[in-house]
Symmetry: C2
Subunit: 366 residues, 2 copies
């Protein structure tokens, strides 16, 4: 078939970011009788597909569950296995999700680096730096920014979590008092912070020069707020895809788990399991020990796990020791890709598709 | 004195980003008879300061030149040596500037990583990605984004240089045709691109919800433009300080040059030279060989070197082979910092100042 790889390509694939088989944003309909499921199983039958392994977050587990249900409904037993994979780390049951540890490491390292830059120049230039990271509904990644923080005066000074309501007056007060105390202030914000009415802060700055919807990040909004209200010089960075594709600074623990989770998925499928997601179970914090187990897809499908309250410090702008204890093992170990002439040897994978066996089909909904 | 370091601290300092001695944005007056110069030399005399080594870009070399002139004018011979150091790489005479190679490497690697992320999901999600990098007046860093590009279809597809006028119609045309051809489009933009009237594009989107000046980046502006005019899903990242503090992915060549440039500055000062800047001279492209020499500060002070036309491809959106030949050696070699418990061991350096010998002084201009 079209997916066979040489052993050197396999090695290269192991050290490449992105989804080699592609990725999608596609929501299956709720009704299992919808014709798309019939078609899907017809395709499975035509190509004799008996195993379906699918990775992603809560929505992707929902997809796996639907496929498992459809394969029963249309009487084509398929072994459907969900694999956790989301940098957002917001799946329940599993200890963590592959992708998260590496992104967390990138954010923890970058926050320290940015802070050293700001420290060097704060006396005559930038006083406030805002670093926007992903996390539309859960603040796991923002929390990871504090992993390099040892003392109160270390960066980040303020973390803005989607789990906490953003109150601009308090934010400005905290920022100003941090600058008074230390001379500068490093802020890490989740992209998904909201005001008391539940509106995304990034929506507050909606209209561009054309009168069209503005996509600008929260960081730009917060930066404007600090400039306008506190008259302090600011800079900001928006990490966006930089954070989730930064294979060059991946966590070894994360890579090990990603590989093990995939292998376990294959094992479960070959053992004729279906309708389950592989989960990582933490056995100990000290010298982080973990094992793999499984959970019914129904327990994780379309669910999300927010940062628990005990992980957020009393004032709402930092993390607690229990958050550190949880997060710390996940960023351990460096696993550099191989470099050639100064650049990582990433594989740009071009999957070849097997020839179609069925005639074209048009989704009646499209 | 206050700057002595243990050997382990020195080692740690070598692998830490930021300016350990601090940095400033401070422009000295043109008139050498301004009282600030008199005060400055009085401080030098009081502390018996005979050597002045100062690193930075064109403005900093101007500062070094002024101090050299003032020390002659006030008859306190001081050996003033300029050291090149700017990620913008825009100093003339020297082959390159320490700081540039590492930032260039970060940008080249990040562009490849982002592209693999977009490739995986472009069929059902993000079609256009915009990556904003530094370079207010010169496109050296934007140019470096193409170092991983081997074929026409590889990222980045469009580079926007400050050396070329930004024309929105042509930009939209190029973006749309790239998406038609490859399915997606990766764009790298310098922060300092301008329109035909010479206005910064980032100024076009000036007013925020408060009616105050907007600091938002060019990337947000371009993203809005693509969404509005082409109806394509976009994402963008703004690297800002991330790019210039990313010690975790520094270029070995760059670090070697930074160290050698500093050592050469000390050597020149001890040899009683003054009024010169250390320069790097390229001896060969193949197996990049270089040596150190010097140039009068007057040749580099307040000057800037833009990307030469022969480095920009005919359509204005890419780089030429001569650009590659120049840039390629500067990103060679990895020089990872030491990690402990998952994080680099960066030194947060707290310089202690020697006690003041002179009474306070107030700048009459302030």
């Amino acid at each position: 078939n079209g997916f066979s790889l040489t052993s050197s390509q396999r090695k290269q694939l192991l050290q490449s970011p992105g989804g080699a088989f592609g990725s999608c944003r596609f929501k299956l309909p709720d009704d299992i009788k919808h014709p798309i499921y019939k078609r899907c199983i017809e395709v499975f039958k035509a190509h004799n597909i008996r195993y379906f392994l699918y990775n992603g977050g809560g929505d992707s587990q929902q997809t796996s569950l639907k496929i498992a249900q459809a394969s029963q409904y249309y009487d084509h037993p398929t072994h459907c296995i969900g694999l956790p994979k989301t940098i957002d780390n917001d799946l329940p049951v599993t200890d963590t999700c592959p992708g998260f540890g590496s992104t967390a490491k990138y954010i923890a390292v970058s926050t320290q680096e940015i802070a050293l830059d700001v420290v060097s120049m704060h006396q005559t230039s930038t006083k406030v730096f805002i670093f926007e990271v992903m996390g539309r509904h859960a603040g796991w990644l923002a929390a990871a920014s504090a992993l390099g923080k040892k003392n109160k005066q270390d960066a980040p000074h303020l973390i803005l979590f989607p789990e906490r309501t953003f109150k601009s007056e308090d934010f400005l007060h905290q920022t100003a008092s941090t600058v008074r105390r230390y001379g500068y202030c490093i802020i890490v914000t989740s992209e998904g912070i909201r005001d008391a009415q539940g509106n995304f802060i990034s929506d507050a700055n909606q209209t561009d020069a054309f009168g069209h919807t503005q996509l600008g990040g929260v960081a730009a909004y917060l930066s404007n707020l600090v400039v306008s209200e506190l008259k302090l010089k600011t800079h900001f960075a928006i990490a966006d895809y930089l954070q989730r594709s930064a294979r060059h600074i991946a966590s070894k623990v994360d890579l090990d788990q990603a590989y093990a989770v995939g292998a376990k998925g294959v094992e479960l499928a070959l053992n004729r399991q279906s309708g389950v997601m592989v989960t990582i179970k933490r056995l100990s914090n000290a010298n982080y020990r973990w094992t793999l187990t499984q959970t019914p897809l129904s327990r994780v499908a379309a669910k999300e796990r927010k940062l628990p309250s005990k992980f957020i410090s009393a004032n709402g702008y930092g993390i607690t020791n229990s958050a550190r204890t949880y997060l710390h093992p996940l960023i351990q170990g460096e696993a550099y890709p191989q470099y050639r002439h100064g650049l990582p040897q990433y594989l740009a994978f071009q999957p070849e598709f097997v020839p179609k066996k069925l005639p074209d089909w048009n989704d009646p909904d499209v």
